[in-house]
């Protein structure tokens, strides 16, 4: 009779859960490694140029402690995936370190370090929301209304660079599209798992399209691209209608091509033609505006395999190195090998996040976790490929690393969603194990 209860399926699940427990054994060395990296590099910067810099030393102590507290703090509250937390902490710390090392003044590094606790709070917020709140229709509609309101707010404010997508208030400025991103993941995860018939998902797809149009009017093309890719990917996974998604993709590429080729005649978009032109030929053209990409490529290739050394690069010559071109600074400071490792960290986050999505109990959770990591990875790819001159440059940030509070908090919120799902999975598996044991089963390995 026992044999009958102990089906093969349950056995497999128990073993999987046990494997997860074992994998924790690798977590401590990884955490120590990250903490040592943070302490040593920030500590080194404290003594750069012979001047002792107390605030750098403070960050050198605070960063590893923060990483440790975050990793164990969140997993004490809920059983979130520690690997994901540690990798995120590594990237966020790397941002502060790179800003401190690559720029001549430490001011940006300090303000970025100041944003980190806020970012962690957002991460926790995302994780707890997913973990404890059952998402229902009313909640999603409310979220949709808030997001729409946030998105149209920048129209009342002035412009920053060529994109008009910032809200300015009392000396602070914020980019609502960064905060709407995680909300959109939740909205679409709900909307696209209601069913595959057209009236199940149509409203949500249209809502996404409206957001894209608003962003287009605000001339934030990088964000339009990210929103569109996110919607298409989540639609494919959620409803399973990949042929429709493919058709939308082809249509968007065609419309985009027409749009770009007529850009110089559309008021407000004449800069687009120049951008494409710069991308095609940054070297031979005599233009002043290709300086950024030229300096960026110089910066990337001058680091060599192992980097110029911490604080010894000339990456500050690149325009907007703190946000759009932070990857170039990483390349020059730490070298190509390390930059590859950073890309690999994003891939690890992707794999681990997709793992959480695939073991989620419930289509909503699966899609939410997937949407979160998809957005982070596609944003990383867009800006890294732009920096490397593979695609035309768009002004999106490198998640977690780039300077900027909005970007950091938005990315942290996305990561929070993924963590929440991973915590739910762990809880479910734990419940499974309990059920198994209460029925008298035992783990065999």
């Amino acid at each position: 009779m026992k044999m009958g209860l102990f089906s093969r399926k349950n056995d497999k699940k128990a073993i999987e859960a046990y494997r997860k427990l074992i994998s924790r054994a690798y977590e401590t060395p990884l955490l120590v490694l990250i903490m040592v990296f943070q302490f040593l590099s920030m500590g080194l910067m404290a003594f750069k140029d012979g001047d002792f810099d107390l605030s750098s030393l403070l960050i050198a102590v605070a960063l590893p402690l923060g990483t440790w507290a975050l990793t164990y703090g969140i997993s004490k509250l809920i059983h979130a995936d520690r690997g994901l937390i540690m990798l995120t902490a590594f990237l966020a710390g790397l941002g502060v370190i790179t800003l401190r090392a690559a720029l001549s003044s430490p001011a940006k590094a300090f303000s970025q370090a100041g944003y980190l606790p806020l970012g962690c709070a957002f991460m926790l917020l995302g994780a707890l929301t997913i973990h404890y709140i059952r998402v229902n229709g009313v909640l999603v509609w409310l979220l949709m209304a808030i997001c729409a309101a946030l998105m149209v707010m920048p129209f009342a404010f002035t412009t920053v660079s060529s994109a008009k997508s910032w809200i300015r208030l009392a000396g602070y400025q914020m980019q609502p599209s960064e905060f709407v991103k995680p909300a959109l993941v939740v909205i679409l995860a709900y909307g696209f798992t209601r069913g595959s018939r057209i009236n199940d998902w149509f409203v949500y797809a249209v809502y996404s399209a409206v957001l894209c149009v608003i962003l287009l009017v605000q001339r934030d093309l990088g964000a339009v691209l990210l929103y569109f890719m996110l919607t298409t990917a989540m639609f494919t996974v959620g409803t399973g209608r990949w042929k429709l998604a493919l058709a939308a993709l082809v249509l968007a590429v065609a419309v985009g091509a027409v749009f770009v080729s007529f850009a110089d005649r559309i008021p407000g978009f004449s800069y687009l033609a120049a951008r494409i032109e710069i991308w095609r030929d940054p070297w031979n053209s005599q233009r002043e505006d290709s300086r950024q990409i030229v300096q960026g490529l110089m910066s990337i290739s001058s680091g060599g395999l192992f980097g110029a050394g911490l604080g010894l690069s000339a990456a500050r010559k690149v325009a907007v190195v703190a946000s759009d071109y932070i990857f170039a600074a990483v390349c020059e400071e730490f070298g190509i090998v390390f930059a590859f490792a950073v890309i690999c960290v994003y891939v690890l986050i992707l794999l681990r996040g997709c793992g959480a999505a695939m073991s989620a109990r419930g289509r909503f959770f699966a899609l939410a976790a997937f949407g979160g990591v998809f957005e982070l990875t596609s944003q990383m790819l867009l800006i890294v490929m732009g920096n490397l001159h593979i695609v035309p440059l768009t002004g999106v940030t490198l998640p977690f690393v780039s300077e900027g509070g909005s970007s950091l908090c938005g990315s942290m919120l996305l990561m929070g969603l993924v963590l929440g799902v991973s915590a739910l999975n762990a809880k479910d598996e734990y419940d499974d194990l309990n059920t198994l044991e209460s029925r008298g089963g035992r783990l065999k390995l």
């Binding site: 030929d281 290739s301 000339a314 790819l381 490929m385």
Partner: protein
């Protein structure tokens, strides 16, 4: 749920693959272009490194030091002023005024900024030595270069390039007016910093007929047996095509038309073939192409690139209108004809050595592209031989030379519609079938008059000198 899992897996795989692809493209493009990206005047790292590193020496192919440093932050150049001026665009300068010179083009090598590992750096720090850059050996010969410069008329502007068409090595590259790398404070006119051999696009005039001829041989069957009638001028749609000096060549064959450089015949050939055909042939010889050579910064040549109206087409038939070519490219075109249709990548860097003299790397000959078939080049070379024996280029012949065949083509390119202004004198040619001296040359003297009387004899003397030096 199962379907969702599967599709998440697919998307995950796509993103992972994209990331891996990014890394692959990243490493390949940095590997292929990294030094070219870095060796630019905008790169402030070079100026910084010069303050702390003992720069390497630049040698010519005979190991004569052209530029050298005895102390960090100092730079000296060879003391022979004439040779120095002839080499100014080969050597370049410390200020980054000359974009083409070795001082900038190979700056990261001379400063040892490339392929220094962390271990190297650490060792240097421990030993307390100044960082030392690598020495480089160029393909150019200083003596030949000095001689070629002396051949130009006093105060003339222009350029000359001599290459080894089998290896692509640049044996001599002269551009006038020059600047003095040892004295950058002195006044020079703005264009002196440009290397006229690689950065100036000249109207080729009749030397372009090599391309038109090659196109006609491919596109018009039986063109060899045809007879053409030249009445000295051809009135086409309001504009008049004239042969040089208003000469009427009468009834001639293609061979005679080429040797005597008949504009009317070549204009009519271009008209018969059409713009697409002529443009395609020019592109086989690398017109309208962005060159991305490792060693040489070279601007693109153009033929029928913007407009291809009939008037433009007819002008292009004999290298006028908007047709434009750099002298080094013209030498490469001649070289391709001599080398059985294969154009070699031009090279300036021969070897990289450690300060101690230890050889680190020696660059290899690289084929740039195969332009046309071997059979076709034989025919073109034969016609170019005829031009030197019985045509406009007779003064390009070298007395006593028997190792091969001297083939060439002259050009007298109009640069303005003003009748009083002199034409640019062109000559391009090569020593055909000479295993020991596979040289191709292009010379242009701005407002030098006729190519046959100004440029051709210069080329003869320059090639004679190169043969005597046994390069």
């Amino acid at each position: 749920m199962k379907r969702i899992r599967r599709q998440i897996l697919v998307m995950c795989a796509v993103l992972t693959a994209l990331s891996l692809l990014t890394m692959l493209v990243f490493s390949l493009s940095v590997n292929a272009n990294g030094t070219r990206w870095l060796n630019r005047a905008q790169n402030t790292r070079i100026q910084e490194a010069r303050k702390t590193t003992l720069q390497g020496t630049v040698y010519d192919s005979a190991m004569t030091p052209l530029a050298f440093s005895s102390r960090v932050g100092e730079r000296e150049y060879l003391s022979d002023r004439e040779a120095r001026l002839s080499l100014s665009h080969v050597i370049g300068d410390q200020k980054g005024m000359s974009a083409a010179g070795a001082e900038l083009r190979f700056a990261t090598t001379l400063l040892g900024m490339t392929d220094k590992t962390g271990a190297d750096k650490t060792l240097q720090t421990i030993l307390g030595d100044d960082p030392v850059g690598y020495d480089i050996v160029l393909t150019v010969n200083a003596e030949l270069n000095k001689y070629v410069r002396s051949l130009f008329p006093e105060g003339a502007r222009g350029a000359c390039a001599i290459i080894n068409y089998k290896t692509g090595e640049i044996l001599s590259k002269v551009s006038l007016p020059a600047f003095d790398p040892a004295n950058m404070e002195g006044w020079v006119e703005d264009t002196a910093y440009y290397d006229r051999a690689t950065q100036f696009r000249y109207a080729p005039g009749s030397v372009f007929k090599i391309v038109t001829l090659s196109a006609a041989l491919e596109a018009i069957p039986g063109v060899l047996e045809e007879k053409f009638t030249c009445e000295g001028e051809w009135n086409f749609a309001g504009s008049v095509i004239r042969c040089a000096g208003g000469t009427s060549h009468g009834e001639i064959t293609l061979k005679e038309a080429f040797a005597k450089s008949c504009n009317v015949t070549f204009a009519s050939l271009a008209y018969r073939m059409g713009a697409a055909r002529l443009k395609a042939e020019a592109e086989k010889f690398a017109f309208n192409t962005e060159f991305e050579f490792d060693d040489v910064l070279m601007y693109a040549s153009s033929c029928l690139a913007a407009s291809n109206g009939e008037g433009e087409l007819i002008q292009a038939g004999f290298g006028q209108g908007t047709t434009a070519v750099t002298p080094l490219h013209m030498a490469m075109i001649s070289g391709a004809v001599a080398n059985g249709g294969v154009m070699m990548e031009p090279r300036l860097l021969k070897e990289v050595r450690r300060h101690s003299g230890l050889l680190i790397s020696r660059t290899q000959a690289k084929e740039y592209k195969t332009c046309v078939s071997d059979d076709l080049t034989r025919q073109v070379a034969l016609y170019m031989y005829e031009a030197v024996r019985n045509g406009t280029a007779t003064r390009a012949s070298i007395s006593g030379y028997t190792d091969g065949y001297i083939c060439g083509k002259t050009g007298s390119a109009e640069t303005s519609s003003d009748k009083n202004s002199q034409t640019n004198a062109w000559y391009t040619g090569f020593l055909y079938g000479d295993e020991k001296h596979p040289y191709a040359i292009a010379v242009v003297v701005e407002q030098g008059g006729s190519g046959g009387s100004t440029a051709a004899p210069m080329a003869a003397k320059a090639l004679k000198k190169a043969i005597d030096l046994g390069l």
